[in-house]
Symmetry: C2
Subunit: 479 residues, 2 copies
């Protein structure tokens, strides 16, 4: 089903041929150049690049793929290589890497139509800046914005910090240019906001992790920039109270709700006890903290804060909220956000960790957390899970820290049993084992707990249709 790497003798011939299809700088074969394309940024996944092809434009991508397809040669499409599931590096058997890092032109910014058209290799932060210069905003925002690239964002259906309000990148893609495995260019670049003319082909390639085609360019929606925000953190003692907070701010701030984040008591305590300057705004410990951010422009920043105060006051009176802090300055807002964003850092400082990125029906989260605590206690004594995440989207990050004193090496042996315990629970709740990160190589073996046999068979049929020789990102995503 998947293409296989060539013999050493064949490889030389293919490299010569590939060099003929790109410009002088378009092919790297020097072993010194390989590592950054062969391994992921965490250093967790690495394999062997048979050569790194760096086309300068879409036509070159098309020529290269046509060649690789004709010779049934495996190729891993790569953009910023910032993924978390090993989806953008070759495996040990070897594959060509097709990097879009030289395709980094912003093709057009349409301030009137509020869209941007750009090459797949544009770094997210560069795209954000281009939008800002036009007085608008690119809604996608991620921690890795300084190095991730648009093609990878699209191929993983990136979510990030503003999903609640603006959706995943899928909802922001107006048009897509894709090169198919056989070199056919599907030019679906378009800034049209409504277009019901036949099948919406671009949807197939968004989130497909480079297994169905290579995204070479896209047109994305832009949004009005918002200058300000109102931020508050409230303490609740039961998960149901967090749901009441969520319902109230959803109702109170339609269209302006940027974030509603849940942070478990253990996570709050860990951050406050670990990171310099971080401290909980609450005198007592409570089961959960809920962080709320509402967008505002210059004119109504005070008004939004006032509305937030009123909404929280009503929740306190109703006995739903036990304590509350409303940021009166941007520094205070940053301080509250630090308690949420600092969790991974505090965890890293504390113990070896296994991380999970899960989604549930929002109402199930409280029960899942209780069940997960019990399930982990059965796996090993002393496991220390912390919970935090985008509660409004049902997205829970579970960071499971090793028992006190256990080293990383020893903890590695527990990954399998912890994976099994957590993914079984997820299946039981009909949740998702990958809210945002994708499948890559890490979760292939678990895909069938989330997707039915009929779904996986249909995925395979789609793969066979678009990449019959199995050259694109082999051994990734599909089990």
């Amino acid at each position: 089903m998947f293409a296989r790497p060539p013999s050493a003798a064949e490889l030389d011939r293919h490299l010569d041929a590939l060099q003929g299809l790109v410009d002088a700088a378009g092919l790297l074969t020097d072993p010194a150049d390989m590592p950054r394309y062969e391994r992921d940024w965490m250093g967790k996944f690495h394999g062997r690049a048979l050569g790194v092809i760096r086309p300068r434009d879409t036509a070159a991508v098309a020529r290269v793929l046509a060649y690789l397809n004709a010779h049934r040669l495996p190729v891993v499409p790569q953009a910023g290589n910032t993924g978390l599931v090993g989806g953008s590096v070759p495996d040990a058997a070897g594959a060509f890497v097709l990097s879009v890092d030289r395709m980094a032109r912003i093709r057009a910014v349409d301030a009137v139509g509020a869209s941007i058209t750009l090459d797949a290799g544009v770094v997210l932060e560069t795209a954000q800046e281009a939008a800002r210069r036009a007085g608008l905003m690119l809604a996608l925002d991620l921690g890795s914005k300084g190095s991730c690239r648009i093609g990878g964002n699209i191929s993983t259906n990136a979510g990030g910090l503003k999903v609640l309000r603006y959706g995943h990148i899928r909802e922001q893609v107006l048009g897509l240019e894709v090169v198919l495995a056989d070199g056919t260019v599907l030019d679906g670049l378009s800034s049209l906001r409504k277009n019901n003319t036949g099948y919406d082909l671009k949807q197939m390639f968004i989130g497909a992790e480079g297994t169905l085609g290579v995204v070479t360019a896209a047109t994305l929606k832009l949004f009005p920039a918002e200058a300000g925000r109102a931020v508050a953190m409230v303490a609740v003692d039961r998960f149901d109270d967090a749901l009441a907070v969520l319902a109230a701010v959803r109702r109170g701030f339609p269209g302006r709700l940027n974030s509603v984040e849940l942070i478990g008591a253990d996570a709050v305590a860990l951050v406050a006890g670990t990171l310099p300057g971080a401290r909980s705004p609450f005198a007592l410990a409570h089961t959960y903290a809920v962080l709320i951010e509402v967008g505002s422009d210059d004119a109504d920043a005070g008004a939004q804060r006032g509305r937030l105060e009123v909404a929280i006051g009503a929740l306190i009176e109703a006995g739903r909220v036990a304590d509350a802090a409303i940021a009166q300055s941007d520094a205070q807002a940053e301080g509250l956000w630090r308690l949420r964003e600092g969790v991974p850092e505090a965890v890293a400082h504390t113990a070896p960790v296994h991380k999970y990125d899960l989604t549930f029906a929002v109402g199930d989260i409280g029960r899942f957390i209780a069940d997960c605590d019990l399930a982990l206690a059965r796996v090993a004594k002393g496991l220390r899970p912390v919970y935090f995440g985008h509660v409004a989207d049902g997205n829970v990050h579970v960071n499971v820290m090793a028992p006190p004193g256990m080293q990383a090496g020893g903890y590695q042996a527990l990954q399998g049993p912890i994976d099994d315990a957590i993914f079984d629970l997820v299946a039981q709740y009909r949740g998702s084992i990958s809210a945002e990160h994708g499948i890559g190589q890490v979760k292939r073996a678990y895909l069938d707990r989330n997707r039915s046999a009929a779904e996986i068979a249909t995925m395979r049929a789609l793969k066979a249709m678009l990449d019959p020789n199995g050259i694109l990102n082999p051994h990734r995503l599909l089990p």
Copy 2:
């Protein structure tokens, strides 16, 4: 490529077999029952139903499709049958009609997670009411809400009155249950808001007009209900000024902008001169009227109106807006909306008409209108186009009225030349020949002006993969 209807003798045998697969009420063969399934509501399209199959549940749909596929029998999936392009009725050669009108259960409303799960046969208005009872809102809203059904809304990727703020139904579908041509049930029902586990298969079926599978159920996002609105109409003399208005209200009302509608001077005059009680709020005629609606809840209705007044005041001072009317009551708001919503009715009262539903890059609309006037003048003397539509989405409705005195019969002969003139212009602007309505049977011949040969080839491959015997809605959508 497409399945063909059976002979009369075979038909009897197939009807017997089909009756065995559904309950007693699940098959209609009486000629008296056929017409409502054989023709569209406008009476423009009709064909021959070999029998109407009305399964009661998904399992019955699966049995029926497995049978039809095994015997290569053509079938037209049908929901509310309210489409505008003849996509949900059989052609003259005959096909079975598979109606979901008996599958009309609301399966679940999740007020906490803000989602609704329902059968494909639920009438849109019924679904809206169920959401309202849960204190939430279904964002999809259409003129045909009293008779269209969710399965059809999804299969045509319906847009409607709230697209600007909430997107098409594609952006509202969280999960989908689909029966494939061979009877396989793809159970993708899920209320998860984030799920990057493999290919997002549901996207293939949304907007596919029943040619790739039969949608049997869906889970849709719900939104906070908004009680109020602030409505204004402004007069502008140049299209560029309309763009300035659009930019200002986009910036001024992030997340709350429900509608920005453009209405040409001729359309305003026609409505005011034709419909009882309708009148323009402006003393003088101006090139365009722009209608603006901003959402508000009870608490801030006055505040939103105030902000709208300030924004419009600034546009007047800047010389962008020539005149303005801000509704001070809901009755006044209705009056302003009447000038927009009354256009089709006023046109119908005036002359025979050919209608077009087009999309452009927003900035191109002014030039398109000028070019279209010229192109139509070349087709025939005295053609009277009026222009109106959802300008923020680039969506323009063109209603071309016959020259004075020309009857419908005579005007029919001009449809071809007018289609050609307009669709050529649309291709020139890289616009869309179908913003919302779809392709059906009406626009198949024009699809290749909007989509490239590579795109159409990929669509055919997708069709061949999912419906190899060509039983589903044959001779529709694909050219």
